[in-house]
Amino acid sequence: MALLKELLYNSGKPLSEFSSWMHAIWAGWGMPGFLLDFIFQLVIVLAVTAVLVLNALWIIYYDRKISALMQIRKGPNRVGPFGLLQTLADTVKLLIKEDVNPKKIDILSFWIAPLIIFIPTFAVFLVLPFGNGLVPADLNIGILYIIAITGLSVIGILAAGWGSNNKYSLIGGMRSAAQIVSYEIPMVLVILAVVLMSGTMKMSGIVAAQSNRVWFVVPQFLGFIIFLIAGNAEVNRAPFDLPEAESELVAGFNTEYSAMKFAFFYLAEYTNLFLTSAVAATLFLGGWQGPFLPPIVWFFIKTYFVITILCWIRWTFPRIRVDQLMEFSWKYLLPLALLNLVVTAVILKF
């Protein structure tokens, strides 16, 4: 019982104790230590991936239920209790569907695109602190790593748009590239302000910096709003869902994708949503910190709070037009984010 409590509230210590205990046994067998490290890392990666895939299934259900709430209807309620298994059924359907490859596609980019989008999305979670000491890899440049890796997904979307040999897909891909590039800049500027305040790029350090003072959402409120808007644009959700605008571009960059390749896009989209919300919760809402409940529970509560806000926005607003999208980023968000950064720096200096 005490061990369980220790594991839940201060996961770092028992985990490292377990690791050194295993290392001792391993050395007793005369095996090299790096092999054990490799096995540990493999287990961690598999565990994180499994949690994230299951979590993405749950987010899809959650999003649908929220939309049902807003649209005066019931939402999924047939498969399993309260329709909880609906997403599972959908996934199975996508798995056993025929994988259609249209003629005249660029086969390499067509096949590699879902992977380029899918893999970085999951790789990002390695630096997220799920709880006290519960970080798969606590890099010194954690936040930089997140920005760098999420920037990769635009290549995947462009590849999907180009490889499909379809004009709708191509327009969707180009839109997405323009959108992600121009919304990344205000996002990074806002993150920089947070880094200035915490004095570190380490994710666990940013969380620790919020422990003795207020959460960064209070001094960085403008930053929080800009981060939410830019993050929403990064994950291509309404009102920024231009790359896959249904009524204009049929389905945008994934028009020609079917079966499991489509499922990869879908899964990546919802994992990205979770990722943006988790980063927002870590940077601005104090990460895993909170009273009474275990840290990991607080982490998920805060993340789902942000997800709810994003869902709310998605199901309320109509879609923005492509020139307005650019205008909004370069004319309003970017100057505001710069101002936010400068003001933060000046206040911190004096």
Binding site: S67, M70, Q71, I72, R73, K167, Y168, I171, A238, P239, D241, L242, A245, E246, S247, E248, L249, V250, W315, T316, F317, P318, R319, I320, R321, V322, D323, Q324
Partner: protein
């Protein structure tokens, strides 16, 4: 392989052609729009119609007069009653049938309910066109009630086939008036709710104001009618300007826009729903007792001659030109459908705007494809 229309063959290196339709989520049916694009900007446009041409006019020549009414339902499945009306009125005019007062009021009530139904569906579809997926569920909540009322009256939910030559097949349902009253009591608030949800939304106003401007002269030159014409500031409504049936007895306003842009067309339709509710209220109060159908001969054989009747449908002026040679079947029927004229103006108002605008402008024209193709 469908060849691109002749206008599109001359394209520069910067441009490309995009086929929007015939299967596309926002062409509202089987309409093909060939777009010439420079990046996202539209530099050329060509609407290709006729995919579901079903030669309705020719088929009518082989049918007896009373068998033609259901065909007019199918022209515009969203406001079937108004289309019935123009045809039925043509036969009645040719035969000199005088309708009982009650039938006229019943017709007005059904037509206005139908206009509300049609505008509600347009509102939902327009929401989908601009990417707002929520409004449809709110609009359909009320549309369902209206459909239930019309269904109780006619038995149909989409193609009602409500009108017969000389009046109606049966009287109003007993609880029709009480249901109507209950519906109208809350409908005004609901329209305000729709406007708050979509029409006055910041993003939507930014997307539609100043987009797809249709000036008065162009609109008149192209023969545009209905809410699209009124959105351009031209106060022409057949119910007011050439009153048919008992419309001259009601007090209502002809809603107009100012600039003729997309947003004005949206606003005109929202206001028109309010006016329809007003007419319904008055009609329910003034509804006289008596017969619901005139005495009509068993065999319908109008005297030889020709006739043109027109009604203000939810989309504009719908006219029926009919020639009778004194037999049981019409010699020739020609339908004047509003959506066809409204579509032809699309090219004038979309060149220079973005792909997303094409969808929004098309949505604001409120096209129904079977009526264009006939």
């Amino acid at each position: 392989m469908i060849k691109a229309p002749f206008e599109m063959e001359k394209i520069s290196d910067e441009e490309y052609i995009l086929n929007m339709g015939p299967q596309h989520p926002s062409t509202h049916g089987v309409l093909r729009i060939v777009l010439k694009l420079d990046g996202e900007v539209v530099t050329g446009l060509y609407p290709d119609v006729g995919y579901i041409h079903s030669s309705v006019e020719k088929m009518c020549e082989n049918k007896k007069f009373e068998m033609i009414t259901p065909y007019t339902d199918r022209l515009d499945y969203l406001s079937a009653v108004n289309y019935n009306w123009a045809y039925v009125a043509a036969v009645e005019k040719l035969m000199g049938i005088q309708l009982p007062e009650r039938a006229e009021y019943m017709r007005v009530m059904l037509a206005e309910l139908n206009r509300i139904m049609s505008h509600l569906l347009w509102y939902s579809a327009f929401g989908m066109d601009v990417g707002a997926l929520t409004p449809i569920f709110y609009a359909f909540r009320e549309r369902e009630e209206v459909i239930d009322m019309v269904e109780g009256m006619t038995g149909g939910r989409l193609t009602h086939h409500a009108f017969r030559i000389g009046g109606f097949k049966n009287d109003l349902q007993k609880d029709f008036l009480s249901r109507l009253e209950k519906f109208l009591a809350k409908f005004e608030d609901r329209i305000c709710e729709y406007e708050a949800l979509l029409i006055n939304n910041v993003i939507l106003t930014a997307r539609t104001k100043g987009v797809g401007i249709l000036d008065k002269d162009t609109a008149i030159n192209y023969g545009v009618t209905g809410p699209v014409l009124r959105g351009s500031g031209c106060a022409i409504d057949l119910r007011k300007n050439a009153p048919y049936s008992v419309y001259s007895k009601f007090d209502f306003r002809v809603c107009t826009g100012k600039n003729g842009d997309t947003w004005d067309r949206l606003k005109v339709r929202m206001d028109e729903m309010r006016e329809s509710a007003k007419i319904l209220k008055q009609a329910a109060a003034m509804l006289p007792a008596g017969e619901f159908c005139a005495k009509v001969p068993r065999v319908i054989k109008p005297a030889p001659g020709e006739v043109y009747t027109k009604v203000e449908s939810a989309r504009g002026e719908f006219g029926v030109y009919m020639v009778s040679d004194g037999t049981e079947k019409p010699y020739r029927i020609k339908f004047r459908s509003p959506s066809f004229s409204n579509l032809s103006v699309l090219k004038e108002i979309t060149i220079g705007s973005k792909i997303a605008d094409v969808v929004a402008i098309m949505g604001s024209l409120d096209l129904v494809i079977p009526e264009i193709d006939r």
